[in-house]
């Protein structure tokens, strides 16, 4: 990875690029280096059995440990979407017929995956960057290399696998909690019985809604873990560098979530 970075510096010096030009060039180098991590991770599928303990550890960190935060985020998201939907459906008469489908579709397609993704970007993505970044600046990654252990296989692959597997599962869990919250508000404040709520869901919701939401979640999990790993491996400097890496990982992961969200929506829902 260092070679690419040096190549960029040489090219920018040769072309007398300004800061903007260098940043653009660095962006493409970053994309290239991330792709190399992803490629290596794909090749490391053959080590899944050997590294099952490492993968399980990361699955617990990203999945189980995130549950409290996901519960809080989802329940209030579901409740507020019911309040919003009820307010807008007033103009069309009774909310009974549409409350279930409108909130559930919004939750499964958009709110569930995106909000869970942002929570995971803050918790998991930033912590990956901080952990790997600290390992980089304290020579622990050099130590892995001198022990003939591939740092991408040992550090990045389990995190990326965990992100890919756990994000869709967390999203299903978040969707269920959010829909329950929405149903609760419909029943307690709008007299929409759970049976009517579910009948509305059954009538209007299609499988594509759920698939697009889960596909988004899978992409969010992969991109968050990949960005966290890439930023962590590229960390330079001491504690300050680790701090910068942590913020950078969160910002980039969040941006990637929004971009992926649009791409999946544009491809699957138009």
């Amino acid at each position: 990875m260092g070679l690419l970075r040096r190549f960029v510096i040489a090219v920018s010096e040769f072309l007398l690029l300004d800061k903007f030009g260098r940043n653009v060039l660095n962006f493409f180098v970053g994309m290239g280096e991330s792709s190399m991590i992803l490629y290596s991770t794909a090749k490391n599928v053959r080590y899944v059995h050997k590294d099952r303990r490492l993968i399980l550890e990361q699955m617990v960190i990203v999945g189980i440990n995130s549950i409290p935060l996901v519960v809080i985020t989802s329940i209030f998201t579901g409740m507020v979407s019911a309040v919003q939907a009820g307010y807008q459906l007033e103009d069309f008469g009774s909310p009974t017929q549409f409350l279930g489908s409108s909130t559930t579709r919004a939750i499964t397609i958009e709110l569930g995956p995106v909000l869970t993704g942002l929570v995971i970007a803050g918790r998991f993505g930033a912590s990956i960057a901080a952990e790997i970044g600290t390992m980089r600046v304290t020579e622990q990654i050099d130590a892995l290399e001198t022990m003939a252990i591939d740092p991408i296989r040992y550090l990045a692959t389990p995190r990326i696998f965990a992100g890919i597997v756990m994000m869709p599962l967390l999203t299903i869990f978040a969707d269920a909690i959010a829909i329950s919250g929405s149903m609760f508000i419909g029943y307690t404040t709008m007299d929409v019985a759970p049976q009517a709520f579910l009948a509305s869901v059954q009538r209007f919701m299609v499988l594509r809604d759920l698939v697009s939401g889960l596909l988004k979640a899978l992409l969010f999990g992969a991109s968050t873990a990949l960005i966290g790993c890439y930023v962590g491996f590229s960390t330079e400097g001491g504690a300050e560098g680790v701090g910068v890496a942590t913020i950078k990982a969160f910002v980039l992961s969040s941006a990637a979530i929004l971009v992926n969200d649009y791409i999946v929506a544009a491809v699957l829902l138009t």
């Binding site: 952990e131 622990q140 022990m147 003939a148």
Partner: protein, 254 residues
């Protein structure tokens, strides 16, 4: 044998760190590399294990250029080497036992019991029995270095590289580490390369000494030859004199 041939390395802003280093590390001997802070000793060590790639020149390990090895070849070569980092570079998230046993777990088919027993033997060897379950945050500086040494020895390496093994330690702990290095070299016939500033250690452990100065090898010989050299640069360094040919800061910022 390790041969370093015409090794050049520049860093950012064209800062020249290695400027044509030529050095032969003889098998079974302990070679110490000395020189002022920032003269490129650790950089040289990192080239030997291919953590850094040279701008020019080569490092031959048993006749093979380490920079041109395939990743598989490099992994196999690194299995023959152990590096003791200046600050230990122990894995924070693992216990002492997991740190030392990681290489064995990754590269051998040893059972958990066999690994535990080997880890205990290594900890005994470095004088730290019964600390297997300690977290690395519970270790003092001297303990970290010794655990790092135990980790470097776990794969029974042919070469052990030490990056300032006694820096920051009290004189007694430094003497213990020096004795360990000598014992490993004599008992296990390990080829050792030690980067150090500590002249007391140099005389105690070295079969050969190389001094780096402005990116080149200024002196190469035995510890005895070092003691009696007339080279004014080397004399100033080993005697720690302020006045002499070595200026506090080189015009390049080195």
């Amino acid at each position: 044998m390790i041969e370093i041939i015409d090794l050049h390395k520049n860093f950012r802003n064209n800062k020249k760190v290695l400027d044509g280093v030529n050095l032969i590390i003889e098998p079974g001997k302990t070679t110490t590399i000395v020189g002022r802070s920032g003269c490129g000793k650790s950089v040289l060590l990192k080239h030997i294990v291919a953590l850094l790639r040279p701008d020019r020149g080569k490092v031959l390990i048993e006749g093979e250029n380490i920079s041109e090895m395939t990743s598989q070849g490099l992994f196999e070569t690194r299995k023959k080497m152990g590096l003791v980092f200046q600050n230990g570079a122990l894995f924070d998230s693992l216990t002492v036992e997991e740190n030392i046993g990681l290489g064995l777990r990754e590269h051998t088919t040893m059972s958990d019991e066999e690994i535990s027993s080997k880890v205990s033997r290594l900890l005994d060897m470095v004088g730290l029995p019964n600390i297997e379950k300690y977290k690395t945050s519970e270790l003092s500086g001297g303990m970290r270095k010794r655990v790092s040494l135990a980790r470097a020895l776990a794969m029974d390496p042919e070469y052990v590289l030490y990056d300032e093994p006694t820096t920051g330690l009290d004189p007694i702990m430094s003497a213990i580490i020096d004795e360990l290095i000598v014992r490993l070299a004599t008992e296990l016939k390990i080829t050792s390369i030690v980067v150090t500033h500590d002249m007391k250690s140099v005389y105690k452990i070295s079969d050969r000494v190389a001094m780096l100065h402005y990116g080149k090898v200024q002196f190469y010989g035995t510890a005895e030859e070092l003691r009696h050299t007339n080279d004014p640069v080397v004399r100033q360094f080993i005697e720690g004199n302020v006045d002499g040919p070595i200026k506090p800061i080189h015009k390049d910022g080195r």
